[in-house]
Symmetry: C2
Subunit: 365 residues, 2 copies
């Protein structure tokens, strides 16, 4: 493997000069620079950033630890992070904690051993050990999707309000028995979405029947079982809300196997939109989380933190959009009016920090 000294020798200069043309870090005579570049090309030299990182103590790479990469929502986040990282000249190290706290600690350590400059982590349901590891070693980190406390930088979607909107919409359509297939206990997203559900029931004066709420563990199989459970209740619901996309699948399976039709027998509204949602029959009414934006915001937060380690931590909440279709029982709108309809979709609200301080979406200096 050719090194900088090979290049230097070949170009008749010192390694210092090679380094400086490579990094553009001090003026070099044009002829010298050309000689160096030619040598690099002729030798097929590739800069060894490992050695560089050793002395600069920076790797220009960030670690991403998210579970369930298969979930389209996380895939969107991944895209946002990838794009943001690349734009800022950072590389991306990926690790999947598989929603297991022990494993989570391990992959976080793996990333730190590789000395990523910072990490973006979607915490598991039991994140304390991992958080402890990171804070003890003061690794710059932003948490994603699931909150761990406001002593850290965090980004997530607004969960409560959209869920409330979804449920209120069903209530306004006349449903009085609305079921919820909730996510994995312990996740802040689950808690918040359940809270939104309860708030909606209260605001519409509906009783809260515990038999209508079942946990689907954030995945399809669990949701299928939970849906069966809810539908087997003495007074089954006439409308159902699912708390994430995987659970929507499960619910649809359960509904299908019982021969129940959506929305005639049971109305359906879901958290998490996805590209196929408008190709189902009926078309799925869903809350769309801004996955890419969440990913992009996370790297922005991280870069800010790297630039200034003493910054006060921020929690960013990004607004969701209610994509109104027909599974909720509303009639199909004429073409051209597809998507959100007035009164249900919020205006594109700006991201807010906790406490509703508006935040500049572009770049916070």
């Amino acid at each position: 493997m050719t090194t900088m000294v090979d290049v230097a020798r070949h170009a008749g200069v010192s390694v210092a000069t090679v380094s400086h043309v490579l990094n553009d870090t001090r003026p070099v005579r044009e002829a010298t620079r050309a000689a160096v570049l030619r040598a690099i090309d002729e030798l097929g030299y590739t800069h060894n950033t490992l050695a560089r990182s050793l002395v600069t103590a920076r790797t220009r790479s960030i670690g991403l630890a998210v579970s369930a990469i298969s979930n389209p929502y996380f895939t969107e986040i991944l895209q946002g992070v990838e794009a943001g990282a690349l734009e800022a000249g950072y590389g991306l190290l990926l690790a999947d904690p598989h929603d297991d706290p022990g494993h989570e600690r391990k992959v976080v350590q793996l990333l730190h051993e590789r000395r990523v400059d910072g990490m973006i982590v979607a915490p598991s349901a039991e994140p304390s050990e991992m958080v402890g590891y990171l804070t003890r070693r003061s690794v710059p980190t932003v948490f994603l999707d699931r909150l761990v406390g406001d002593a850290h930088d965090q980004v997530c979607a607004d969960n409560t309000a959209p869920m409330r909107q979804l449920v209120e919409h069903l209530a306004d359509l006349g449903h009085t028995r609305i079921g919820l297939i909730a996510g994995l206990p312990g996740l802040s997203t689950t808690t918040e979405r359940v809270a939104g559900y309860r708030a909606a029931l209260r605001s519409r004066g509906l009783p809260h029947d515990p038999g209508l709420l079942a946990g689907g563990n954030s995945e399809a199989a669990g949701a299928e079982a939970a849906t069966h459970q809810v539908l087997s209740a003495e007074h089954p619901p006439t409308a159902l809300v699912t708390a994430n996309n995987a659970m929507t699948i499960g619910a649809l399976r359960a509904l299908g196997s019982r021969g129940l039709r959506v929305p005639d027998d049971v109305a359906l509204a879901c958290f998490d939109d996805f590209s196929w949602a408008d190709l189902f029959t009926p078309r799925l009414t869903a809350v769309a989380q801004p996955g890419r934006e969440i990913g992009a915001a996370a790297v922005r937060l991280l870069l800010d933190r790297l630039a200034d380690p003493d910054r006060t931590p921020r929690t960013l909440r990004l607004p969701c959009t209610l994509v109104h279709r027909t599974s909720c029982g509303c009639p199909e709108l004429p073409r051209g009016a597809a998507g959100a309809r007035p009164g249900t979709a919020p205006p594109a609200a700006p991201a807010t920090e906790e406490g509703n301080i508006p935040v500049d979406e572009r770049n916070t200096p």
Copy 2:
């Protein structure tokens, strides 16, 4: 940041000893080992693999360059690669070439600058520069999904036979005008799938009408346009095949906007299965590529290559499964007979190398 000398001092030993307990690379008295481990724990030391890599010239990380991470097929591949890498103790560096040859060269270089031990790349349609870069620097690489020539290690799905099966099935159902929405020109997957389509027409004695074949550029919007084009032909097709999952979406959109019903007006069969495919009405008949297995096989090939750089290159083809549902026009089967039906789904064939030499799927020594 605490280093090995801190640990050594704290434990009252030399750095060599610390290194050796960390790597388990020479016998250390139990008491000494304990002292070192305690020091590590007390100081919160994390091994710096950068420095290690500098001297060992290995990073224990592999680079993955695939475009369109959003595509569920690639997501599966990613999972397979992640799992395989983790199991072998390798880290994963991710980069998205965005299907652009120039960009592709850049991300490959970025990965090489970080000195990944090897790379797994899904080549763009114009991969020569990237391939040149890699071979010149002799970076161990396995190519994915799209072939670049048998001088390299490669893994892909079997494209021709399943596509042929799909089309022959439609023909056997009585269709004589079968349309194909094909992928991005230049990709080997596109070529092979088109070949499968042609082979099926030939084997069933159907004429090849060029008006029935349109390019959908491997993405939804392109496929939507292509579908409209095909359906506007003088003699429109009565059945349609889409060559990947994104294009299935596009085709469904076009079909929907024309008010055509599947399978009554137009039968549909697709390349690429996905988790929602059996929730559509009608349920989608599709060829399932073994994404995870492809990813896993790629890291196996890569590890083999790393173990023995002089190994002769291998091309691995993994079999697909035809998942028979109802969009092709076949009647719904009674419950319990879901999935493949006799005669259409191939027995789970073993992976084959080019030339049909069966290959041990577990681990080739």
